[in-house]
């Protein structure tokens, strides 16, 4: 998906980093070492108060490490003046943190302004960024933050973080304050953006589902930012390093694994198919000649349009009187989508379409259960 563009991000290395707040004996972050590869989304996930935000904030020195070294690219972050360092690192926070007295244009253009870009270049960049995050510049640029919805503000927050095209983006629960549907849209958009931009993104959240969805890698953090496990979402879901991680991954782990696999990764089963021009008699004989009591109805270009069951066909004069509405999934859909479709359909399977929407076969609940079982045994053996 993202393999085709070179990363514009740079590697970040945390080298035995600790943070002790003045007047506190316990370190907030205790000896953390982490290698964040260029162009990947690394999600810090952990319970609240575990120090994940502090760990992230040390990267742009909003929190000064007490000891240890932080490398961004090949530069030592502690050797760069904090304000300059922060201008080269995008920063997006919960509830966007937009300045209410500035227009959207002014908010997004802040960092380029601090970097002394000239006005016309800033304006062009703001237009480009608003387009990028899906806000029509002519419509939104001169509005004030309070005139935007929470989701739109969050988009502006991301645009502001990207303004000076920084190689690194720090995101502190940026989608924590919006409703679940908007959050899901924003997550999809972030993934789409990242597909184009390939920044190095450090993303903090306490929502493991979000971590699985967004992360190329996930760092599961415990108290004092101790790294309990640092691996791909697949591996963490399949084999949590210890009970704490397992507890955090939660009982939804199997379901989440389905969100990581696509329909094309599993074997499809076939079900009888008929064309919508066929007579009721023809369809009855096709179903009778199969092991099933229903059939997928295709149009003349082999695309599934509806389905029909034997019981309804029995008294129907023509096929069109008996067909029922059909939702399909594509080979690109996740198995989680497929599961949803299966649960919604009365024929207990999800009809799958391939390239140009042609009928490919069906996914059944049994296929999904087999897949989960296989993943578990693979994880157990590795």
């Amino acid at each position: 998906m993202t393999e085709h563009t070179d990363p514009t991000g740079v590697r970040i290395e945390l080298d035995h980093v600790s943070k002790v707040y003045p007047g506190s004996k316990q370190p907030a972050v205790d000896d953390v070492s982490l290698d964040i590869p260029a162009g990947e989304i690394v999600v810090f996930v952990g319970p609240s108060g575990c120090g994940k935000t502090t760990t992230m904030r040390m990267i742009n020195r909003l929190s000064e490490p007490t000891s240890g070294r932080i490398l961004i690219g090949d530069q030592d972050a502690l050797s760069i003046k904090p304000t300059e360092l922060r201008r080269s690192i995008g920063y997006a926070i919960q509830q966007a943190g937009l300045f209410p007295h500035m227009t959207i244009r002014q908010n997004v253009g802040l960092v380029p302004g601090l970097l002394n870009w000239d006005r016309s270049r800033i304006n062009d960049r703001v237009d480009e960024l608003l387009d990028l995050v899906g806000l029509e510049p002519a419509q939104y640029a001169d509005r004030y933050p309070r005139q935007l919805s929470g989701g739109q503000q969050q988009r502006v927050g991301v645009a502001r973080a990207l303004a000076a095209d920084p190689p690194v983006l720090l995101m502190d629960e940026p989608f924590g304050a919006v409703d679940p549907i908007t959050r899901s849209t924003l997550q999809d958009e972030l993934l789409r953006l990242q597909g184009e931009l390939r920044k190095t993104i450090v993303f903090v959240t306490h929502d493991f589902g979000e971590a699985v969805k967004l992360g190329d890698r996930i760092a599961v953090l415990g108290q004092q930012s101790k790294i309990l496990q640092y691996d791909t979402p697949q591996n963490i879901l399949a084999s949590p390093a210890d009970d704490t991680v397992a507890g955090f991954v939660g009982s939804g782990a199997s379901l989440r694994q389905l969100g990581l696999l696509r329909v094309k990764d599993v074997a499809l089963e076939s079900r009888p198919s008929v064309h919508r021009d066929d007579s009721a008699e023809q369809v009855r004989s096709v179903i009778a000649g199969s092991d099933y009591d229903w059939a997928v109805v295709l149009d003349d270009r082999e695309r599934p349009v509806s389905w029909v069951r034997e019981t309804r066909l029995r008294h129907a004069a023509s096929l069109s009187d008996a067909v029922e509405h059909l939702d399909v999934v594509s080979t690109q859909s996740t198995l989680e989508d497929a599961l949803e479709a299966i649960l919604a359909e009365q024929h207990a399977s999800a009809v799958v379409t391939g390239p140009v929407g042609r009928y490919e076969g069906v996914v059944t609940l049994d296929t999904l259960i087999d897949t989960i079982t296989r993943l578990r045994s693979e994880a157990g053996s590795s």
């Binding site: 909003l62 922060r86 920063y91 943190g97 300045f99 209410p100 933050p145």
Partner: protein, 222 residues
């Protein structure tokens, strides 16, 4: 009715014959108040900015300025004579001291009420402490500072009238002179004209400040 009529006509006669003097005194009065409030705003905002992050210092600043405000105007002006003598300087000093409390207090309360997420965002995108203060914090606190300025202006308009006692500028001289010659036919018109002008000018200044607020406050926070 008749006495009312005669009062109005006496007032009118007084105003029309002393027109240039009244205009001059009004100008002096407004000018002194505006300058005092501007000076007090600069000092008050600086004190507020320097103290708001430290609860003790902030308390000290507000308490000191509220103690000043409780000193009666006459007493304060009298106390300033040994320091500054008579005339414009002690008058303006008194006005500045009185104006400080609302401005310091609103600045401190306002700065502390700025959403920490906003100052964090400002730092996070690479604004210096000074830039954060001037481009974010003070912009957000400006409406609160402005309403303190309105309060200070209203208060100063009245206090300056008393400053005639230390030979200060403005309409107070008219009121004092009128009160000093009670019994003479011009006494009442003089004192009344001075008082009315103070009230009218105070209202005019308030309207001007409201307009300034309209023009200088971002639409995003109005």
């Amino acid at each position: 009715m008749t006495s009312n009529n005669s009062l109005w006509s006496a007032l009118w006669t007084y105003v029309s014959t002393h027109y240039p003097q009244l205009l001059f005194d009004s100008y002096q009065h407004v000018s002194a108040v505006v300058q005092s409030v501007v000076i007090a705003t600069v000092i008050g905002v600086v004190i507020g900015v320097l103290t708001y992050r430290n609860a003790l210092a902030a308390n000290l600043a507000t308490t000191t300025s509220s103690v000043i405000l409780t000193v009666p105007a006459f007493a304060l002006l009298g106390l300033l004579i040994p320091l500054f003598g008579l005339g414009v300087i002690p008058s303006v000093t008194a006005l500045v001291l009185y104006s400080l409390l609302p401005i310091i207090r609103n600045t401190i309360v306002g700065l502390n009420a700025v959403d920490p997420a906003l100052t964090d965002a400002a730092r996070g995108i690479g604004m210096s402490r000074f830039t954060t203060l001037t481009r974010v914090e003070l912009r957000l606190v400006w409406p609160a500072i402005l309403s303190a300025m309105r309060l200070s202006t209203q208060m100063s308009m009245g206090v300056l009238a008393i400053a005639a006692y230390v030979k200060g500028p403005g309409l107070g001289n008219l009121i004092f002179a009128g009160l000093a010659r009670v019994g003479s036919p011009t006494a009442l018109p003089m004192a009344l004209t001075g008082t009315l002008l103070v009230v009218i000018l105070a209202l005019v200044l308030d309207v001007v400040l409201v307009l300034i607020g309209r023009l200088t406050t971002s639409k995003g926070i109005r």
